[in-house]
């Protein structure tokens, strides 16, 4: 029995945290002002560190990292308050594009790919209603992560009676992309597909990749919660009101103990999910998202007015938490589904 990081994992963790740096909000604001709200230079740097390749198979030129390896990176990105959509445009495309030529460009960071799965009026459903017809795709996708900047869309569709994924370049004929800013400052997109030609579907199992993505999202959430707790602990030790650091007030101490308890429970739930024991990924992600959001709200509250400003990293963390909490289904839905399962 062992919960320690392997040496390789420790290396990836250190690399990731070094990449993140101290969580500079000015740099984040600068990135968000670029076209599509996305910083290509930073992304290439991240790719250059092998962090996208980690999620890809060795046959595709990747490192064939385990889910645990990927969760280690995701948690570190959370702790580092990274602005980069590593989950959305790194991990997921690397998994889906297995044994496709495009995988190499994704791993290299030169192609920004993303999964177009959500559809208007279908809430959190991951089974597409959009159907292929005669080699063409027609319909709409919404909330495409980082779709404002993406080069390649991995579009889910019902094909020959099953869920399938097709790679569609941004400049494909018949494709209209409308970007819009979302919670974490990135630009999602609405897609309208009007007879877009598609090739062969990708080989990967969509549902399996989404379940993996939920676990990786949960790992980033754990990292975010840890970071916001750590920042808040630091803040209450130095911020003075009524003649003493506010961390000396008993209610603040006990609140932070509750936050600590929830972070540790979230960490344990993540470990359990990585071992594939117990609750399904959607429920675990929901449990962890609830914990992270509560911790994030306390972080804002205990930072007072400062927590409400765009200047501190706290708010960025909370907004990323909210977004990850909804990605591939929210907590209520995930936990309800687990409730319907037999024990």
């Amino acid at each position: 029995m062992d919960f320690d990081l392997s040496e390789t994992q420790q290396l990836f963790r250190d690399t990731t945290l070094r990449f993140c740096g101290p969580g500079d909000t000015a740099a984040r604001h600068a990135a968000r002002r670029q076209p599509g709200g996305f910083d290509r230079a930073r992304w290439q740097e991240l790719a250059g560190l092998g962090l996208i390749g980690l999620a890809a198979g060795e046959g595709d030129g990747g490192l064939g990292g385990s889910l645990g390896d990927c969760a280690t990176v995701a948690q570190a990105l959370g702790e580092g308050l990274a602005a980069e959509p590593w989950l959305e445009c790194g991990f997921i495309p690397a998994r889906l594009l297995a044994s496709r030529a495009a995988a190499a460009d994704v791993i290299a960071g030169s192609t920004l790919a993303t999964l177009a799965f959500a559809e208007p009026g279908r809430r959190f459903r991951t089974d597409p209603a959009l159907e292929t017809a005669g080699g063409k795709l027609s319909g709409a996708k919404t909330f495409v992560p980082c779709g404002g900047a993406a080069d390649l869309f991995l579009v889910t569709a019902r094909h020959e009676g099953r869920s399938a994924v097709f790679a569609v370049p941004r400049d494909a004929a018949g494709l209209t992309v409308q970007g819009y800013p979302v919670a974490d400052g990135s630009h999602a997109a609405q897609l309208v597909l009007d007879g877009v030609a598609h090739g062969e579907p990708l080989a990967a199992d969509l549902d399996a990749v989404i379940d993996e993505a939920r676990i990786v999202a949960a790992a980033e959430l754990v990292g975010l919660a840890r970071r916001l707790l750590a920042d808040t602990l630091e803040y209450v030790k130095t911020r003075e009101q009524f003649g003493q650091p506010i961390g000396r007030f008993q209610v603040i101490q006990h609140r932070l103990v509750d936050a600590y308890a929830r972070v540790e429970a979230a960490q344990s739930a993540l470990y359990r999910a990585l071992l594939r024991l117990g609750a399904p990924p959607a429920a675990v992600k929901g449990f962890i998202a609830d914990a992270a959001q509560w911790v994030g709200q306390q972080a804002v509250q205990l930072h007072g007015g400062m927590g409400m400003t765009d200047e501190l990293a706290i708010g960025h963390g909370l907004k990323r938490i909210v977004l990850l909490g909804k990605l591939f289904g929210d907590a209520a839905g995930g936990i309800a589904a687990y409730g319907r399962e037999a024990a």
């Binding site: 208007p120 909330f143 009524f242 007015g305 409400m308």
Partner: protein, 402 residues
């Protein structure tokens, strides 16, 4: 026990309704509904303020001699409730509800004659200078100082969370006029013109991308000694009056109930994952019912205070709870909204305003577009005006005697 209003009160209510139906324009309603921040922009409030001023219904907390309508507590409540139900924009509180009553109570006749009419007309737009970076919940430790030099005060220091300072031409501020006095004692209440070189306003953008707040810097800023309210060192007494005056006769529940009604109606059209609409999702419905019960109870708590006020009693210990309960309820309602709209609630537009022709097109509905900015901005409810933690300590000591 009854909730019945007198015939006169009912007639008044009808009059308010008629007025609102006639004078509250669609543009004002739209702006009020589509403002995700705590305060409404001045171009909107000025228009609505002019309507109310013309009717004589503007300064509801002022004595009649200064332009107040001379209403009973019940009339004030009914007016607030009808405005909330009709979706009228919130008025700028700093002039009308904060400094106005203070000038009525503590100002000299000259100060009253000079400032009060300009608040009513909208000619002056006020902001508040209370908190400082080192003095948030703990106002007594404030450091911004005003030094008397001849017929002027010279102000140096900084104030933070100065809402709409970028729109204001006057600020009322708590400043330290005597550094040697005990913490609360050396503080004075000073009115300072904003339009001068010694004042710099620096924007603070919220996590929802709204610009309401600022930090205001005073670098040898000046104001005439005639702009001191009360005496030097009386600032703490005046600040407490201002706070107490703000309380009582609150009317937050009607707008919360109205918002829950809107969420409920919207939920009828949001498809759920497992068939049917979100309105029928058991978990959503349970949360909705729970919040309705809380808001319904909260409305009665507000009415209980009103009934006390109407009988001439002090508002009683319940008032201290209103801020606390109302703030948390508002945040819970906001959370229900972001949970309802699913991915559509994840949009977070950077452009403002979200009404009028230049507003960005929403993904899904305008309500979905407003949900997240509102949720984010409303985190402030449990922080400003005395955080939850400060409120609870006050209630523990003053109400529960602990």
């Amino acid at each position: 026990m009854d909730l019945d209003f007198t015939p006169d009160e009912l007639a008044f209510q009808a009059e308010v309704r008629t007025f609102l139906a006639e004078r509250l324009s669609p543009r004002l309603r739209e702006a009020a509904a589509n403002t995700p921040s705590v305060f409404v922009e001045p171009d909107i409030t000025r228009e609505w303020q002019a309507e109310l001023h013309a009717k004589g219904w503007l300064a509801t907390l002022w004595p009649r001699e200064f332009g107040g309508p001379g209403w009973t507590p019940v009339q004030k409540y009914l007016f607030e409730k009808e405005c909330a139900d009709a979706g009228a924009p919130a008025l700028p509180v700093q002039g009308l509800k904060l400094v106005g009553p203070v000038i009525c109570k503590f100002g000299t006749p000259e100060q009253q004659a000079r400032f009060l009419p300009r608040i009513l007309s909208g000619e002056d737009y006020w902001c508040q200078g209370y908190s400082e970076p080192g003095a948030g919940s703990d106002l007594a430790s404030l450091a911004c100082r005003a030094e008397r030099r001849g017929d002027k005060y010279v102000i140096n220091g900084t104030k933070i969370w100065t809402t709409h300072a970028h729109h204001a031409n006057w600020i009322f501020a708590l400043v330290r006029t005597d550094a040697s006095a005990r913490k609360q004692d050396g503080i004075s209440f000073l009115l300072i013109p904003m339009d001068q070189p010694g004042i710099t306003v620096s924007a603070i953008v919220s996590i929802a991308n709204d610009h309401e707040l600022n930090q205001t810097f005073f670098d040898n800023a000046e104001t005439g000694v005639e702009n001191l309210i009360g005496a030097e060192g009386q600032g703490w007494t005046i600040a407490k009056y201002l706070l107490e005056n703000e309380r009582g006769g609150s009317c937050a529940a009607p707008s919360l109930l109205a918002e829950l009604g809107r969420i409920e109606r919207a939920a009828r059209d949001v498809p759920a994952d497992h068939g049917g609409m979100m309105r029928d999702d058991p978990h959503f419905a349970q949360r909705l019912a729970q919040l309705r019960l809380e808001a319904e109870a909260f409305e009665i708590t507000e009415l209980r205070i009103l009934a006390d006020l109407a009988k001439g009693r002090p508002a009683g210990p319940q008032t201290s709870l209103i801020k606390l309960v109302g703030a948390n309820l508002r945040q819970a309602v906001d959370t229900l909204a972001i949970d309802l709209y699913g991915y559509e609630a994840m949009q977070l537009p950077t452009a403002r305003p979200l009404y009028g022709n230049a507003a960005p097109e929403p993904i899904g509905s305008r309500s979905a577009q407003l949900a997240l900015p509102r949720w984010l901005n409303d985190r402030a409810w449990t922080i400003f005006g005395g955080s939850d933690e400060v409120q609870k300590t006050i209630i523990a000591k003053q109400v529960l005697g602990l």
